[in-house]
């Protein structure tokens, strides 16, 4: 068969063939570009790779097997996919490192159930809150310090309280806690739990859903959770994703997703799987902007 170029065709036919060849080339080029970019292009102005920072604190974020999961990571995966970002890189950090890492652009978003505080809001931008949780205390079943639910931490004496460094509880206790309280700053919740178990601390101050998760975990039968009231204790915390203040478009797109996702059946199912009570959602809805 003779090559197409030397076939004797009528001028209209050759013109149509040339146009078809050109159109085919363009389609192929577009396909290659789409393939190189993933399956679907990210929105204009959004990164193609998202680096997500997290600190291990069940049920907000933790490692199961070789994958990162938890309340915040799972929502982050869905949000990123919704925004057309399919390349995610998980960066594990200690809780008090997260904001510095974000500001130093080592990560693009924090997915660690970080509470919204006025101090933090001056440095970073928070997304729409995903959870609203009460604070609590983790103590041994024997409760040697004699603590009770609703204890006023501004009035207690001779108490060693373990707090996660950089947490809202640590900030509140440093500011408002009784002068008789000795704070033991631990890097993460796991260490705090070990501190209580080993007697290095009388109690661990943290959000109740984390503390309940600890009770449910191995050796949790030795522990109990005392819920605190708003008076005499750290305020109810609102967990949210954290962004750099200049990444407005990313945050707004993220919020746009959260607006439709939070409270949805799939969201409720996720919380149920993680052992988080639905009251946390209702509280969020009531405080959402």
């Amino acid at each position: 068969m003779a090559p197409l170029a030397i076939m004797k065709l009528s001028p209209p036919t050759a013109f149509v063939l040339q146009g078809a060849r050109l159109l085919g080339s363009l389609v192929c080029l577009l396909g290659v570009l789409l393939f190189m970019d993933g399956c679907r292009p990210a929105k204009v102005g959004l990164p193609k790779l998202l680096r997500i920072g997290y600190a291990v604190e069940e049920p907000y974020a933790f490692v199961r097997g070789s994958s990162v999961t938890g309340e915040a990571p799972e929502i982050a995966k869905l949000a990123a996919a919704q925004l057309g970002i399919f390349q995610l890189r998980w960066v594990q950090l200690s809780f008090d490192e997260l904001i510095e890492a974000l500001l130093q652009k080592r990560v693009d978003v924090i997915a660690a159930g970080m509470f919204v505080t006025p101090e933090r809001s001056q440095r970073v931008a928070f997304s729409r809150p995903t959870l609203a949780v009460k604070p609590g205390l983790l103590v041994l079943k024997e409760n040697p310090a004699g603590l009770r639910p609703g204890t006023d931490l501004r009035q207690v004496t001779e108490l060693c309280v373990a707090t996660v460094a950089g947490s809202q509880e640590q900030a509140w206790l440093s500011e408002n806690g009784s002068s008789f309280i000795r704070l033991l700053n631990v890097p993460d919740a796991v260490t705090g739990r070990a501190a209580v178990l080993s007697g290095a601390a009388d109690t661990l101050a943290l959000s109740v859903i984390t503390l309940h998760a600890m009770v449910r975990s191995r050796d949790g039968w030795q522990l109990q959770v005392l819920e605190l009231e708003s008076s005499g204790a750290p305020p109810r915390g609102q967990a949210a994703f954290v962004f750099r203040q200049e990444d407005v478009e990313l945050r707004e797109s993220w919020d746009e997703f959260l607006k439709g996702y939070l409270g949805s059946p799939s969201h409720r199912m996720l919380l149920r799987d993680l052992g988080i009570p639905e009251s946390c959602i209702q509280a969020t809805e009531s405080t959402a902007p």
Binding site: S94, D96, E97, E100, Q104, A165, L184, N185, V186, P187, V190, T191, A194, A195, L197, S198, G199, A200, A201, D219
Partner: protein, 581 residues
């Protein structure tokens, strides 16, 4: 010309040397600047790199500890493989690093709870000391280790951030200073290049001017390197040696003149050896027989390193000068010969005239004596026989013979003056004058004449002729004042200059009209009648001739009725020069 050439050579040598030195200096200066900046940067960066290395060590130790502690937390005490002694050692090592970093940062660091680092580290060391032991740590020990680690980690990270910030600031500052230095160096080099360009342009212009100067020099001038290749040549050189009007720069002299004689090459070699070779006049016979005279000089030129770089040849065609000199010599010789011939002829004629005069004078005297003698006999023997008229005629004859005899005597005297051989010596004329005047005073004691004589008047000459001269002058003065009531005859000294001596004889007698002054010294020329003042008219002619024979001169001043002054000058012998030391 030589000075101009030397300057030209110096500037030319400088033109070759200058760029090398200048460029080297520029490179050295720029290199030193850049090296100093780079060394400074490297030194600063070395410190920062070492600090970063310390932080990296801290991170590694933290990672090891974190991993071990995680195993303890997750696996429990029994399942943990964590080596707590190693963990404690790593913590202590990290504490050491932190203290070192604090020292290097040169400012105190504080912990998260604002306690000084020194205090925190000391506390941690104490805690670490209690955490050592065999086997895996207990849960409480693990918690304590983890808390220490966390504090340590927080401090380390904060310090790391500060270090990063410091490194960034230092780098930014250093980059700015580096950029400034580089830009400054570039500007500096550009400035140097511009100066060098200006200097080069000036040198090139100077070289062009000097080459133009050499090219148009009105002399045959050429400059060669050690291979006898032309570096410069004047047009005159090219014209004189038939090299045409094209450029000969770069061409070898020996190629242009293949048959150059060996002596010339030897002269060139002597010039290369540093010798200055010259000839004031050198004769060359061209193959076609034409003779050329040259004045030439071969001068070595020296490079800045002190070595001879070649030679400069300067040559001047002096053929026309030599020909003119020869013509002058030939004419002089001809003139000398003519003078000698004429002198000989003149001397012969003078001798003949003198001989004739003497012969005539001498021979005339005999018949004159006969006339005079026989006349006197007639007067004595036959005077009584003659009447008065006859006696008067006879008396006139005798007077004429007497006068003729006087004439003959004077002529003989005049001719004798020319024959006498001069014997010069200093002669004081005053005694001679006094003797002469004494004779007159004795002869005519009735006359009242005031005589004024100087103490001395010395001239150099022949004493016999000077006596004749003085007698003639004083006789004239005595004679021409014979009718003056208050006669004065004065002799004096006159200033005639360092090489002449002279005087005068002055009287207040009859004087003369200056219109006839030129005739006074001519033989037989008389300004007064014989009856008024008798004489032959030869006296002043004799005076003039005596003065001329001595190389002197006489001249007269006078006024009719107011007397006359006769001046005379004689050359003074030149004293022998005093030998210098």
């Amino acid at each position: 010309m030589n000075r101009a050439l030397r300057q030209f050579l110096k500037r030319r040598a400088g033109l070759r040397r200058h760029p090398w030195v200048r460029e080297t200096l520029v490179l050295v200066v720029a290199g030193m600047l850049l090296c100093s900046v780079l060394l400074m940067r490297l030194h600063q960066r070395d410190i920062l790199f070492r600090l970063n290395a310390c932080v990296s060590d801290l991170r590694e130790s933290r990672a090891d500890l974190s991993q071990g502690l995680l195993q303890v937390m997750v696996g429990g005490e029994a399942g943990s493989g964590f080596d707590r002694n190693r963990g404690v050692a790593l913590i202590e090592q990290s504490l050491d690093v932190m203290l070192e970093l604090e020292q290097r940062l040169e400012r105190p660091l504080v912990s998260q709870d604002t306690r000084p680092l020194q205090e925190v580290v000391g506390e941690m060391r104490e805690q670490c000391h209690g955490l050592r032991g065999e086997g895996p740590p207990s849960l409480m020990q693990a918690v304590r280790l983890q808390v220490i680690y966390h504090e340590l980690h927080t401090l380390g990270e904060r310090m790391n951030r500060e270090l990063d910030r410091e490194v960034e600031q230092t780098n930014r500052g250093q980059n700015q200073s580096f950029i400034f230095t580089v830009v400054g160096s570039v500007l500096f080099l550009a400035l140097l290049a511009y100066i060098a360009y200006r200097a080069d342009r000036e040198l090139v212009q100077n070289e062009a001017r000097l080459l133009l100067f050499v090219e148009h020099a009105p002399a045959a001038l050429a400059m060669f390197d050690l291979r006898m290749c032309y570096l410069a040549a004047s047009k005159r050189w090219q014209r004189d040696y038939g090299l045409g009007t094209g450029s000969v720069i770069g061409r070898c002299h020996y190629d242009l003149f293949p048959s150059l004689p060996e002596p010339w090459k030897e002269v060139h070699r002597r010039g290369f050896a540093g010798e200055i070779v010259r000839a004031e006049e050198d004769r060359f016979v061209h193959p076609d027989g034409v003779v050329q005279w040259l004045r030439w000089e071969v001068h070595p030129w020296v490079q800045p390193n002190g070595k001879v770089g070649g030679i400069v040849i300067f040559a001047e065609d002096i053929t026309s000068i030599k020909e003119a000199q020869a013509e002058v010599q030939r004419l002089n010789a001809q003139l000398e010969q003519r003078v000698q011939e004429r002198t000989a002829e003149l001397q012969a004629a003078n001798k003949e005239i003198e001989s004739f005069s003497y012969s005539v004078s001498h021979d005339l005297r005999a018949p004159l004596r006969a006339i005079d003698g026989f006349g006197r006999i007639i007067a004595e023997s036959y005077g009584s026989l003659m009447d008065a008229q006859g006696k008067d005629y006879l008396r006139r004859v005798l007077a004429a013979t007497e006068r003729m005899g006087q004439l003959i005597d004077d002529l003989l005297e005049l001719s004798r003056i020319n024959r006498v051989e001069l014997q010069r010596r200093p002669v004081d004329l005053v005694p001679l004058a006094r003797n002469c005047l004494d004779l007159h005073v004795h002869a005519e004691p009735a006359r009242k004449v005031r005589i004024v004589l100087p103490p001395s008047l010395t001239v150099h000459g022949d004493s016999r002729l000077l006596t004749v001269l003085l007698e003639n002058l004083l006789n004239n003065a005595w004679k021409f004042t014979s009718r003056t009531e208050e006669a004065v005859i004065e002799m004096g000294v006159s200033e005639a200059g360092p090489d002449r001596s002279g005087g005068f004889v002055r009287d207040n007698g009859a004087g003369f009209d200056m219109a006839y002054a030129a005739k006074l010294f001519t033989p037989f020329q008389r300004l007064h009648h014989q009856n008024e003042f008798p004489g032959t008219g030869i006296g002043l002619a004799t005076v003039n001739r005596i003065a001329l024979r001595h190389g002197g001169r006489v001249w007269a001043e006078g006024k009719p009725g107011a007397g006359a002054t006769i001046h005379f000058e004689f050359p003074r012998p030149v004293p022998n020069p005093t030998p210098s030391p």
